[in-house]
């Protein structure tokens, strides 16, 4: 067999794992890999980003919409240091990505060599697995292991720190596949007694309520979930990351949970008699004050990750295992049921939210544009097969609240880490991961400027993302907290902004800046009629507020709605 370089072995191994897209940025300690890439142009589409953070978020966006592993390739030292935010974000949100970083040659390791960073030391706490590859023969094994770990069980980021020695060494390459690691149990077996206990609890319940997280999407268990809910007529709500596991018009879908979720599901959490948590992790943004969370209910927790059981909320019945299987197993034992009165009892709360919050947000005829109406109009224009990507802040909450979801994997947003700057690069990755779907990004004026250089990537790689800037000239979400809880002392949250449209224009991205409802409608029409990237700046109410709101650390029933 011919021997090839470690760098070629790396690319062969990626292809062997089904990779066709890499988001990356070169540098001294990754040149051998980039040199090899030169001959793989036909098989590996390398997207050249403008900052390595962007490469990781793009890989995340790609992974979230496609279900495949996103791949990032960067150089050592500053290159890999720039990926830390993306790795941490992927860890929090269980996103399968593999970050491949160049590293100094073996003989320089540990010497504070030029552009050396202790990558393993830095990334171990924020990755599912981090491994230093020091020789070319290890590459096929390490890549196989990386993809297996990133994509199985509860997915997450894996870091491969590949020394220049490994990149340049020779190896008799043989494709490798890993499907088993003895110290790693990605899918724990479900326990029949727990399945029976869960079903018995649900069968006895008069007011069952299901709360659904991203685990259902990651486990491709959407149709199993729907069958489960329908059989026993169980109303459900989703976390922010669980959005689109159920479509927006599904009658059993009662909305979104959490700090800026809907009134009904938050209140009903503290009224139900059996709370059925599925693939969600009781994050504090969902539960509020744990001492006042669902105390009246028996709690069932479906999860694939044993460490999530009893971590935040002590549960009555843990159902460990893959939700795609456990939902079916519990479902078999469920009695067909009707909970009409219970389901109906959600409706007045929805009516109230419509009257007090939504009407004003979506249908104001006067005054400045509001974020909600921009999102709503864009969503109506692009249809419910589109993907929504958001940045972080008010734009995020408005984006996810007022977009409509018609199919799964339609939401890409930074949940656990809440990373400002996530949106623009994640939207690029989402478009590349789902080329047939429209991708709409809602981003704030603050967050856009954290990764705005990726407009260059969008230009160069001709990525068709619809960028909707919700410009309030404030770090709006922080300003909202200052208004509500810090006596309107707007400490460092007002921004003096550039002419964003000129920036877009400099990158040859067409767009419009709008301030009135007529202008908005016209710009949306133009945006949807054009192929390719578009930049829509909506100048919105400066001091808009996101309601409803459950203030941090208070009970989920403590919902503030603004002026009523």
């Amino acid at each position: 067999m011919n021997s090839i370089s470690g760098s070629e072995a790396l690319l062969e191994s990626l292809i062997h794992e089904g990779v066709d897209t890499i988001f990356g940025y070169p540098g001294g300690q990754a040149i051998p890999i980039y040199d090899a890439l030169y001959d793989y142009k036909d098989r590996l589409n390398h997207i050249l980003v403008r900052h390595e953070q962007g490469a990781t978020h793009a890989a995340q966006g790609y992974a979230r919409v496609s279900g495949k592993v996103g791949v990032t390739l960067v150089t050592s030292g500053p290159g890999v240091a720039n990926t830390i935010t993306g790795i941490a974000d992927a860890m929090m949100d269980s996103t399968p990505i593999v970050v491949i970083a160049g590293q100094v040659p073996d003989n320089l390791l540990g010497t504070d060599a030029f552009q050396e960073v202790d990558v393993i030391g830095v990334t171990q706490p924020i990755s599912k697995w981090a491994y230093q590859v020091r020789s070319a023969d290890e590459i096929a094994w390490a890549v196989a292991r990386a993809f297996y770990i990133a994509s199985t069980g509860r997915p997450g980021p894996v870091v491969l720190d590949v020394t220049k020695t490994a990149q340049s060494g020779k190896v008799a390459y043989q494709p490798h596949k890993i499907t088993y690691i003895r110290s790693y149990i990605p899918k724990p077996d479900w326990e029949p007694e727990r399945i029976a206990q869960a079903a018995a609890l649900i069968n006895q319940a008069e007011k069952p309520f299901a709360i659904v997280g991203q685990g259902v999407i990651l486990g491709n268990a959407e149709s199993e979930l729907l069958a489960f809910l329908r059989k026993a007529d169980i109303p459900a709500a989703t976390t922010m990351l669980g959005l689109s596991a159920l479509s927006s018009d599904e009658p059993l879908n009662t909305g979104m949970l959490g700090m800026h979720g809907n009134i009904a599901p938050n209140l009903k959490t503290n009224e139900c008699d059996v709370l059925i948590a599925i693939g969600m992790r009781f994050d504090d943004r969902v539960t509020g004050d744990l001492t006042q969370y669902a105390k009246q209910a028996k709690i069932i927790h479906f999860d694939i990750d044993l460490a999530e059981i009893n971590k935040n909320v002590t549960v009555d019945v843990p159902v460990i295992g893959d939700a795609k299987e456990t939902l079916v197993e519990v479902g078999k034992l469920l009695n067909p049921n009707q909970h009409t009165a219970w389901r109906e009892s959600f409706k007045p709360h929805w009516e109230r939210e419509r009257q007090v919050v939504i009407q004003k947000e979506l249908h104001s005829k006067e005054g400045p544009l509001r974020m909600g109406e921009v999102v709503h109009k864009v969503s109506q224009a692009v249809g419910n097969k589109a993907i929504v990507v958001t940045d972080v802040g008010q734009n995020q909450m408005m984006g996810v609240r007022y977009f409509s979801y018609g199919q799964t994997r339609s939401v890409v947003t930074s949940g656990g880490l809440g990373t400002e700057g996530f949106g623009l690069p994640a939207a690029m990755g989402a478009k590349i991961g789902a080329p047939d779907r429209t991708v709409c990004l809602f981003v704030g004026d603050g967050g856009l400027q954290m990764t705005i250089q990726e407009l260059g990537t969008i230009m160069q790689s001709k990525i068709d993302v619809k960028i909707i800037l919700l410009n309030n000239n404030y770090l709006g979400m922080v300003r909202q907290w200052q208004e509500l809880f810090w006596h309107e002392r707007y400490s460092h949250t007002e921004l003096q902004n550039p002419d964003f449209l000129k920036i877009a224009e400099a990158y040859h991205i067409p767009g419009r800046s709008v301030s009135t409802r007529d202008e908005l409608d016209a710009a949306i029409r133009e945006m949807t009629s054009m192929k390719g990237a578009y930049f829509l700046e909506a100048n919105v109410e400066n001091k808009g507020m996101v309601y409803p709101m459950v203030p941090a650390g208070t009970a989920v029933t403590n919902i503030i709605l603004g002026d009523e």
Partner: protein
Amino acid sequence: MNNMEKKTLYTVTIFSENTVGLLNQVTIIFARRGLNIETLSVSPSAISGIHKFTITTFTDKAMITKVVKQIDKRVDIVKSYYNTDEDLVFQEIALYKLATNKLLEMGSIEDIIRRYNARILDMTETWTVLEKTGHYDETQALFKELSEKIGVLQFIRSGRVAITKSKVERLSDMLAAMEAKLNRDKSV
């Protein structure tokens, strides 16, 4: 220290693959939860290729359960569990370096050795090394007595090593179960 008194000393046993950087992965989980590691001992286990960590820490049951699960979750950790002292047979080993002349002058050395079940490990004209294995209070009591009587030149105590009293060898059972599952999965 005050609230430490309300807490229990847990012994965490961890079996892992023998890969670089694992100790780091384990200790950061304790650090994130603000737990002090009291003792630590790492060595190859009875099963070839698998390392065993024994770590003690003061905490409560809810916390130790979470910590052990988070350790177990790391890819290269084979198995992790916790015990309290009642479930374990355990020892620490302590070495005491003493001035030989003072030791001889003291006269009661044989009595001390007998009472503490210690032994002389090495002796020269100038220094003598005593060894004692036992629980923390026992090695500490000897240290105190020697310090008061003749002074201790150097003192070192190992981390705890422990063996469970239960009959089952959990790790080998688990490995066997995993192999069985693998074969079952392969056959379908």
